[in-house]
Symmetry: C2
Subunit: 256 residues, 2 copies
């Protein structure tokens, strides 16, 4: 089998430790091409750049590996990679991350890391977003390799169901004894925001958003439970948002 | 019954014609509070402002109606509305739009309009995003009122299934004889991007993203079919992205 072609992106920016770790693992598996944001794009959700221009510049920061930094969002990176970098070559895999911080549960909606993966899935490519549940910029990634490798090899060998991207979260290094990999559903949890009100030197009010993550889910089959119990969580995510069960209810109850 | 409390937001910005139209319809139904972006936020998906500050300023552009413009994304607007504007009051409904342009099918992922609605649903509020399938900034909204009113009254009277927000698209005015309202699933269609490469006055390359919408869906139960056949489409959308059907497949096939 020819070496698989692997497109790598992220949302923390091309100079983050997480993407370097991911590239190091991927280059042992296949031919790596990197297209990643030129700066942090955390919390960008599935944003794309529609009313503004995009920049794309080649960089040698990863040595021999073909790499580009892009001024846009993670979803932009995958789109422009397809058109201007890969051109007629079809990637065997799109990977995004490793994110510095958890993307379990509802955080998947806000996650730039996962938007790159979902954008890959939209194009029909097998795609995975990886996150380490440790927010520090110099987080210890030394324990992630075997889990990422196992998930990637399974994906390359067996493919993924159509219309699905994987959301993978990995417990932090400080949690000893990772017990294994669990296929999970998205936990029913949410962010409870708080806004810190301040005044600038001109006396004008501004805010910083802060938030606490609150888990309402009592199940043991979800990603929050998995991380809390030292498993690597794998949630298959779809981009068909239709609540099919709700269609029958609306058709029955509504007077239209 | 007391007048329902209705929170209004959008992604085209507080001065757009679409939000003015929506406010005019809502103020006949309930007490309206507006928190909307201070400028265009199209294509922002479910982005939130995490590494930057937010501004929130009261404005009298809608006369007696309590209104605020916010420097953040549509999702930010709903979050800050909950904390700083509504405080302990619980809205009976969150509406977003009316977007200048279609948000059918996969566009729901990129849509700032729908992210405000989904953010409302996350908070447990009934929530609806409205879009007019006409991209012009001075689009004709004169035909939308009866459809929006009917959808809002059904929602207020019957509620929505838990974890669901509605994605409503309305055919443009130029399509005569709207046939009614259809509950739909999200069409299986996608954007085929194109990047227009240009050079700035300093000789540096930049890009504009453009795209063509291509419908791969042959069904007659989806939102693209509905709009193409002059129906108002209503897609119930969920924020649990888990592809439940894929969990069994991965558990069976994967060697973990």
């Amino acid at each position: 089998m020819a070496k698989p072609l692997i497109l790598v992106s992220n949302d923390d920016g091309i100079s983050s430790k997480g993407i370097r770790t991911l590239i190091d693992i991927m280059k042992e598996i296949g031919e790596v091409v990197v297209v990643a944001p030129d700066g942090p794009q955390s919390g960008m959700g599935h944003a794309i750049t529609v009313g503004n221009t995009l920049r794309l510049e080649e960089t040698d920061i990863f040595g021999d590996i073909k790499a580009y930094e892009c001024s846009g969002t993670p979803a932009d990176c995958v789109k422009i990679a397809k058109h201007f970098v890969l051109k007629n070559r079809i990637p065997d895999l799109v990977v995004s991350g490793i994110n510095h911080g958890s993307n379990t549960s509802i955080s998947v909606l806000y996650s730039g890391t996962m938007s790159a993966a979902i954008e890959g899935a939209l194009e029909g490519y097998p795609a995975i977003g990886f996150s380490l549940c440790d927010y520090s910029s110099d987080a210890d990634f030394s324990h992630v390799k075997s889990y990422i490798r196992k998930i990637v090899m399974n994906t390359l060998e067996k493919g993924l169901p159509s219309g699905v991207a994987l959301n993978v979260n990995i417990p932090p290094k400080r949690n000893e004894n990772i017990k294994g990999i669990k296929i999970c559903r998205q936990a029913n949890a949410k962010w409870h925001e708080d806004f810190d009100q301040r005044y600038d030197p001109n006396g004008r009010r501004y805010f910083w958003m802060a938030g606490n993550f609150v888990n309402h889910d009592k199940g043991e089959d979800n990603d929050e439970w998995a991380i809390g119990n030292n498993y690597v969580s794998v949630v298959p995510c779809q981009y068909d948002l239709t609540a099919h069960h709700a269609m029958a209810q609306l058709n029955k109850e509504w007077d239209i």
